[in-house]
């Protein structure tokens, strides 16, 4: 019987991390942004039924890139965790921080256990607060580390590029239409710097909207509402239909450039998992 080759722990972990990262990179990236009334999730997803974003609890949303069956499993685990906690204590006692911790522990244990294959997923757990200051966004890479994000975050294959792009252009207090368009612009940039078109029907968009009267703040944006938001820029000169969520996206265009520096302090320190 031959003795197995010695593999140093560093090498073993690096191999596992590379395996997970490659798996995640196969899928498409997605972004999560803060806007004036909450948090918006935007991703490219050709499927109508298999979602990348979903509701975990009243004010908590979930986004994931990577392997579907693995993050679906984690999502359902999270829903069970949140519902059980809310049932045991109170609805207010379910927090994104608590959930992110449980996910981090779960991913971390799987990542470092030799018996299991590492999960090829990267998660975002976001909670909308009563004001923008109360918003919380946590990014959870495959290895169970946890990064507290602010403003904007991208996960998935080309997340590094996308988040650099977002960091430069995202500012606090954007309208939903502005944030959505910025997100689409960021997602449509190719790895080689080119741009491609993402049609509205391939977009999956959801929001955690703090102004929603219901207790449950999560809402998917589909169909006509999505089209209207994406076109809000062109319709700026004709303020005939003025629903509350499409507000002067034009003033923002210039403001985006000028506020690039003001947005900088918000740019979060990059996570240690990045190469």
């Amino acid at each position: 019987m031959s003795t197995p080759f010695y593999v140093s722990p560093q090498q073993a972990m690096a191999d596992r991390a590379e395996y997970a990262r490659k798996g995640i990179a196969r899928g498409r990236s997605l972004v999560v942004l803060q806007y004036a009334d909450g948090i918006v999730f935007v991703g490219e997803n050709p499927s109508r039924a298999l979602h990348k974003f979903s509701e975990i609890y009243d004010r908590i949303g979930f986004a994931a890139a990577g392997k579907y069956n693995e993050y679906e499993n984690l999502r359902i685990g999270g829903v069970r965790y949140a519902d059980l906690r809310g049932y045991t204590y109170d609805r207010d006692d379910v927090t994104a921080r608590g959930l992110a911790n449980v996910y981090a522990q779960t991913l971390g244990t799987i990542f470092s256990s030799a018996a299991e294959k590492p999960y090829e997923v990267e998660l975002v757990v976001a909670e909308v607060g009563a004001t923008a200051d109360g918003d919380q966004i946590y990014r959870l890479p495959h290895d169970g580390s946890i990064v507290d994000e602010h403003g904007s975050v991208a996960v998935g294959g080309s997340s590094e590029q996308i988040s650099t792009y977002l960091d430069q252009r995202h500012r606090d207090g954007m309208s939903l239409a502005e944030a959505l368009k910025l997100a689409v612009q960021a997602l449509s940039r190719d790895t080689n710097g080119g741009e491609r078109e993402i049609p509205a029907e391939r977009l999956e968009v959801a929001v955690l909207d703090r102004t929603r009267p219901q207790q449950r703040k999560f809402k998917r944006i589909v169909g006509r509402q999505l089209a209207r938001l994406l076109e809000a820029d062109g319709a700026a000169s004709t303020p005939t239909d003025a629903p509350s969520d499409t507000e002067e996206p034009d003033g923002g265009e210039t403001a985006t450039d000028t506020s690039a520096d003001t947005a900088k302090p918000d740019a979060e320190p990059s996570g240690d998992d990045k190469e």
């Binding site: 979903s54 359902i76 685990g77 069970r80 519902d83 045991t88 522990q105 779960t106």
Partner: protein
């Protein structure tokens, strides 16, 4: 595996095991003691004294359904609470009103709401109205042991059926037996009197406004003859809870809206104590 999962803070295996979309199923595997019906009671002699909620009424109208309840809870012949709430939204398109042991009823509603929400989140789609009604049936059945000791919970379930596009009402007995009611229904100790009132006032072409007035008339009549049902309390500004479920979803009438209807009814009853009259023939 299960044993060492807790020390790491990792989600226990039960959370990540693929299974049903039911929260109750999950709870019965993971921590069965938290289910209201699974508690073991010591052997008891006679009934336990606990606050009871009384009359719930429901009426359908073209375009929706109205579910309403009085505000009184009694313990024996004492009024335990004057402003109890017995009508709750179950989800966006349905509501449940509960007569019976208040403590258990509120807990059951909480679990029922969670059951529907959990399913919706896991599956990404709502249960059918029929499915919701059946789920409630199961919950009542699991409470049968306690019902036999006087801790019965008897709900009335109403909702907008998105597929059939009409409002529907389901009534239950303590064993979980479920039956769909046409037009109007009531449950609780004042239900006999409320049903009599509704029988005379109901017709198929009610407007939403008429339907909300009808349920308050019926609750007034129930309170008139049943001591366990409370009438509109003008002095304390406590009025019945009236909810309307239509295509647009669940809506609870504001206190101003329900007080306006209740006051108009009281005004009329000053000259006509028995309320509106039906034609003799």
């Amino acid at each position: 595996m299960e044993a060492n999962t807790r020390s790491t803070g990792r989600l226990p295996a039960a959370f990540l095991t693929p299974g049903s979309s039911s929260f109750m199923d999950f709870l019965s595997h993971h921590s069965p003691d938290m289910l209201p019906g699974k508690r073991s009671l010591p052997p008891l002699q006679g009934a336990i004294e606990a606050p009871h909620g009384t009359t719930i009424v429901a009426v359908t109208f073209p375009g929706g359904v109205v579910l309403a309840g009085d505000r009184r809870a009694t313990m024996g012949n004492m009024i335990a609470q004057r402003d109890i709430e017995k009508v709750f939204p179950a989800d966006e398109y349905s509501a449940v009103g509960i007569a019976g042991t208040a403590g258990l009823a509120v807990e059951m509603v909480k679990l029922f709401q969670l059951e529907l929400e959990h399913f919706e989140k896991v599956e990404g789609a709502q249960l059918s109205l029929e499915g919701k009604a059946n789920r409630l049936s199961t919950m009542i059945r699991s409470n049968l042991a306690m019902a036999m000791q006087g801790l019965a919970v008897v709900p009335l379930f109403a909702g907008w059926d998105v597929d059939r596009e009409r409002g529907r009402i389901f009534s239950y007995d303590v064993t979980g037996g479920r039956s769909e009611e046409l037009g109007y229904a009531s449950t609780g100790s004042g239900s006999i009197f409320a049903r009599g009132a509704m029988k005379k006032l109901y017709h198929e072409e009610l407007t939403e406004q008429q339907a909300t007035t009808l349920v308050i008339q019926a609750l007034y009549d129930a309170a008139d003859d049943d001591s366990a049902t409370g009438g509109p309390d003008v002095a304390r500004r406590i009025y019945p809870i009236v909810t309307v479920i239509t295509e647009d979803g669940f809506r609870r009438l504001t206190d101003d809206e329900s007080s306006e209807i209740a006051r108009a009814i009281l005004e009329r009853r000053l000259s006509q104590p028995d309320g509106p009259r039906a034609a003799l023939l």
